[in-house]
Every structure is written in C-alpha cells, then in structure tokens.
C-alpha cells in the first residue's frame, strides 16, 4: 500500500526523468543535424575554394594554386575532414554559425538582424490559423450532411493551396484591385495582414481536418449525452465539452505546424518581398552562399526541434495519462 503523497512523489520523479530524457534526445538530434549539414557540405562537387573565389569576384574561371592556398588556409579546407568537423562543432558551441561568402558578415549577426520580421509573421499566422480552424470546426462539424461536407471541402482545398499561388492571388485581389492593404515593403501591422493570412490558410486547413475528425468522434461520446440531459444548450455542449477533446490532438500537431510555418515563411516572404530570414535564405541559395544557407538551415532545424520538445512537454502536463503509460 502506498499513500497518496508517496504516489504523487513517485509520479513527479518519473515526470522529471521523462522531461530530462526528452531534452537529452533533442540535443542529440540537434548534434546529428549539425553533423548532417557538415557532411552535405563536404559532398559538394567541385572545389570549395574555387566556388568561393568565383562568387566573391563574380567571374567563373579555374583558379591557380597560388590563389587558392590562402583561402584554403583561412577556411581550413586543407585540413583533414575530421579536424574540419571538430572545428565546426567547436564554432557552433561558441554560437558561431560561420561567415557568409557573399556578404562577408557572420551568419549569426545576419540572422539576428532579420529575426523579428519572420517571428512576427509566424506568430500572427499561427494565431490566425487557430482562429480559422476553430471557427470552421465549430460552425460546420457534426451539423448535418450538407454543412459538414461544405466545411470539409473548404478544409481540403485550403490545405492543398500552395502558398506561392495563394499569396499572389491575395496580393492581386486585396492589394492591387481593392487597395485594402499595401502591396509590399510595409512592415507595420497593415502590411502583415496579407502575408500572415497566406501563411495561415493552408495550415488552418490541416488543423481543421484533424479537429473535425476528433470533434465528430467526441460528439457521440456518453459525456455529450450526459451534458445534454443536464439541459445544456447546444452551444454550451460544443464549446464547453466537445471542443476540449478535439483541441488536444491539434495541439500535438503544433510542432509540425512550426515546421510548416518555417517552410511557408520562406515562400511568403519572397512573394510579398518582405525582409526576413526566409528572404535571406532564398537569396543565399540562389547565389550558392553555402555557409549562410547551412547556418540558417541549422537554426531552422533547431527551432523545429525545440518546438517539438516544448509540445511534448506541454502534452505531458496537459494529459496526465502519458506519465503513467
């Protein structure tokens, strides 16, 4: 026999261990990501020093050994791969993500300078996506065949819309034709509306699809019948009881949503010519600025991993069944 206090103490112990375990495995995945990025760079066809010199000077030609030697020394390309790898990891531990070939500035500095426009875009889009998904689910799920089918049709189409096309459509209609919103270059709240909507709509489609399934399933549960026999109104049953059951699985999708937001931000920033990390990443990819791209990709992977870790941890808190299972 254990007392209640002992039991809760033990539960807390497993929970702490669980959180620690998740954190450690997140760090391992992050290290594996850095390793993968490093070795992808090593696999690059052709000579890295030549590529670098050609990029900086803007001409394409074969370089002499005398030209290449100082570059090889500066970037350590002449060292054995293992030495280069350890040096790379060492730099990462000091927060040094490398130096851009083109801009000749540290990647960390470039990212920090562009952080806010991207983060504000992602946060606004996440908020809009949740509001849209909740609205569609509450309004149409389990309300007769016609309304349900309409709702699920809207979700399927929304989820399938590529952001590059949706963005241009919204830009043409609401900015160029109706002139409700500025076209581009406006970093204030008005300039944020269309990009955030573009980013949010496909994600809202996915979230709503998942919520609708859970919502319909929960509607046939005994506790709904109980709530109804207690005389609660339909709206109270839906918003108060059923919704809670359908939100939880969607929360677990938030980690995925952050990944979708990161991918989408790259495209949305290009469509609306908004400054931000995505825009820098695309420009760097076009000019083949390998250190800058690698640095940004690593930061994006880290963001994704941390978001998934946070979702895991939040889930452990919300749903006590997980700790015991």
């Amino acid at each position: 026999m254990t007392t209640v206090a002992e039991h809760s103490l033990r539960a807390r112990g497993t929970r702490t261990r669980r959180i620690l375990g998740r954190a450690v495995s997140a760090v391992i995945v992050l290290w594996a990501c850095a390793t993968l990025i490093f070795f992808v760079q090593i696999l690059m066809p052709g000579d890295r020093a030549t590529l670098l010199l050609n990029q900086v000077s803007g001409e394409v030609r074969t370089r002499t050994a005398a030209e290449l030697a100082p570059i090889n020394r500066q970037y350590g390309f002449d060292q054995p791969i293992l030495v280069q790898y350890l040096r790379y990891l060492g730099q990462l531990l000091h927060g040094d993500l490398g130096t851009s070939y083109q801009l000749a500035r540290p990647t960390t500095e470039i990212i920090l300078g562009q952080l806010w426009p991207t983060v504000s875009l992602m946060l606004a889009a996440l908020l809009i996506a949740w509001v849209l998904a909740l609205a569609v689910t509450l309004a149409t799920a389990g309300r007769g065949r016609f309304r349900s089918a309409t709702g699920s049709g809207i979700e399927t189409i929304a989820a399938a819309l590529p952001q590059y096309w949706l963005g241009i459509l919204l830009l043409l209609v609401f900015s160029l034709a109706l002139k409700w919103f500025p076209a581009e270059g406006d970093l204030g709240p008005r300039g944020l509306v269309l990009p955030a909507l573009t980013l949010a709509i496909p994600i809202a489609g996915f979230l709503a699809q998942l919520m609708r399934d859970e919502f319909t399933r929960a509607l046939s549960q005994p506790f709904v019948v109980t709530a109804r026999t207690r005389g609660l109104r339909e709206r109270q049953v839906r918003a108060g009881h059923v919704l809670r059951h359908s939100v939880l699985p969607a929360v677990s999708l938030s980690g995925w949503a952050v990944g979708a937001l990161l991918s989408g931000a790259v495209i949305v920033e290009t469509v609306y010519a908004r400054p931000g990390i995505g825009q820098v990443l695309v420009q760097a990819a076009i000019t083949r600025d390998i250190p800058l791209v690698s640095g940004i990709v690593l930061v994006i992977a880290a963001t994704y991993i941390i978001a998934n870790l946070l979702v895991d941890l939040a889930y452990v808190r919300i749903d006590p069944r997980i700790t015991t299972s």
């Binding site: 391992i28 995945v29 992050l30 594996a32 990501c33 993968l36 990025i37 992808v40 760079q41 696999l43 690059m44 066809p45 399927t156 189409i157 399938a160 819309l161 590529p162 952001q163 590059y164 096309w165 241009i168 459509l169 043409l172 160029l176 990944g259 979708a260 990161l262 991918s263 790259v266 495209i267 290009t270 990443l281 695309v282 760097a284 990819a285 076009i286 083949r288 600025d289 390998i290 791209v293 690698s294 990709v297 994006i300 992977a301 994704y304 991993i305």
Partner: protein, 280 residues
C-alpha cells in the same frame, strides 16, 4: 432505365462524383504529358511580338505571355516535365525509404538504431528547407531538383516502411517461412518486402501531387529549371515578373498546378479507402 442497366449486379461500386472529377483531371494531365499536341492549341514556343501580354480571350483562353506565346499551350507542354519531376522525386523518396525503413526495421541495435536516428534527424528539417540546402550545395538543375525533393520527402515514407516491416516480421507467416528453412534473404524479398511495400505505394501515389507542388515552389523561388523550359515551376518563376500587369501569366498556370495536385491527392485518398486501412 434500360434492361441492361437493371441486370447489373447489385454490388457495382458507386464512385463518388469528386473522385470521378479527380480522375478526369488526372487523365487530362497524363494525356497532356504524353501527347501535348492533342491538347495544346498553339506551338508553345512560337514567339509573336505583336501579341504580347494579351488577356484571356477565345483565341487564347489563358492569354499570352511577354513574348506573345500562348500560355495554355505552355502549360500543356510543361505537363510532361512536371509529371516526370513528380514521379522522379517520388521514386527517389520511395527507394531511399525502402533502404532506410528495412535497415531500421530489421537491423540490430547498432545498425537499426543508427538508421532510426538518421530518419529522425532528416525529420528535423522542414521539406522545403532541406531541399534548399541540397540545391545550394549541389547547384541548381533538373536532377538536383528531383533528388532534393525526393530526399526531403524520404523520411516520411521511411517511417511507413519501418512500421510495416516491424509489424510484418513478427507475423506468423514470416515465422513459418523461417521455420521451413528459407534463407533470410528469401524471406525478406518474398515475404516481408511485398507486404511492407503496399502502404508505400498508396502513400507514394498520394505524394506525387505534393512533389509537383514542392518542385514548382522551388522553381518559383528561382531554384528550379532554367527559363526556356516550359516546366510548371519555370512558368511560375517567369510569370512573377509580369504578374502586376498581366495576372493571367501567373494565376492560371498556378491554378492548373493546384487542380492537378488536388486531383492526384483525391485519387490517392480514394485508393487508400479502397485498398484497406493499413496504410492510414
């Protein structure tokens, strides 16, 4: 109602209207890909400088582009390249997924665990971002595009294969095959793989549309196939410059991509429902 219709067996499958519509779109897409001249009203590369940037009309349903080329004909002639890119990328993803999934499912602690970690690591990169990294390192071009989209999509398929291999290897018929003295290689090829691959085929058919969308997205960003090609992503990237003066050069090809992707997904879903739940 004719007599013939009345004598049809009662178990005739009723195919829902959206699925029929999706099938029609996919069939048109495949015809456009194989026999573009059947559907294209004009020569897709015919430049007519007197007819530049004309809005949609009866003569040019999708309008004309900055060189006076018929946009509809360009969309039709780009279908083949886009279908090949979608198929190629999905094939790359599936092939990688089989290797990774089987190694993760059958390998021991060391190999299996290591491959598992690799799959989880690849999962930490959003698809577009991983593809961007690969294109940067290996330089732009069709083959890089196909490989980049394929590799970026591989971890999702690899998880499916791994799960399937893990459940099949413990099944009674695999145990029976081992017990009757078949070699491990034969058991793998004849018993485990065929059963592990079925859900992969369904997932792959769902993925072709997505792969086309990813590849067009990368081309839209300027990281795809070089301009003279009429591949769909290249059309989008081309049209971007003129979108503010001629919406049709961008919006209509984009609409076709969305329609085809939706149709492929709807058809994939219908297959999934038809061929059992295990792939869910």
């Amino acid at each position: 109602m004719t007599a013939a219709a009345n004598t049809l067996p009662a178990r005739t499958i009723r195919i829902p209207a959206p699925t029929v519509l999706a099938a029609v779109v996919v069939v048109l897409f495949v015809i456009a890909a194989i026999f573009p001249s059947l559907l294209a009203p004009y020569d897709a590369f015919h430049v007519d400088l007197g007819e530049t940037l004309r809005p949609p009309s009866f003569a040019h349903p999708f309008g004309t582009d900055q060189s006076g080329r018929d946009v509809l004909s360009r969309v039709v002639s780009g279908a083949g390249a886009s279908l090949l890119i979608g198929l190629g990328a999905t094939a790359v993803a599936a092939a990688l997924a089989v290797v990774l999934g089987v190694a993760a499912g059958l390998g021991g602690r060391l190999l299996g665990g290591g491959v598992n970690r690799l799959i989880e690591t690849l999962f930490a990169f959003p698809v577009l971002v991983l593809a961007l990294l690969l294109i940067t390192v290996f330089g732009p071009g069709v083959s890089t595009l196909v490989i980049a989209v394929g590799v970026a999509n591989a971890p999702g398929y690899a998880r499916i294969v791994r799960g399937q291999v893990l459940s099949v290897r413990r099944s009674e018929y695999v145990e029976a095959a081992h017990a009757t003295g078949h070699s491990p290689a034969r058991v793998l090829l004849r018993h485990i793989l065929p059963n592990a691959l079925r859900p992969l085929v369904v997932a792959g058919s769902l993925g072709i549309g997505q792969a086309i969308v990813w590849a067009s997205g990368l081309a839209f960003l300027g990281l795809g196939v070089a301009p003279p090609s009429a591949e769909w992503g290249a059309l989008l990237n081309d049209g971007r410059t003129y979108v503010t003066v001629a919406w049709w050069v961008e919006v209509l090809p984009g609409a076709v991509i969305v329609l085809v992707a939706l149709a492929l997904t709807a058809l994939g879903r219908a297959m999934q429902r038809r061929f059992g739940k295990e792939s869910g």
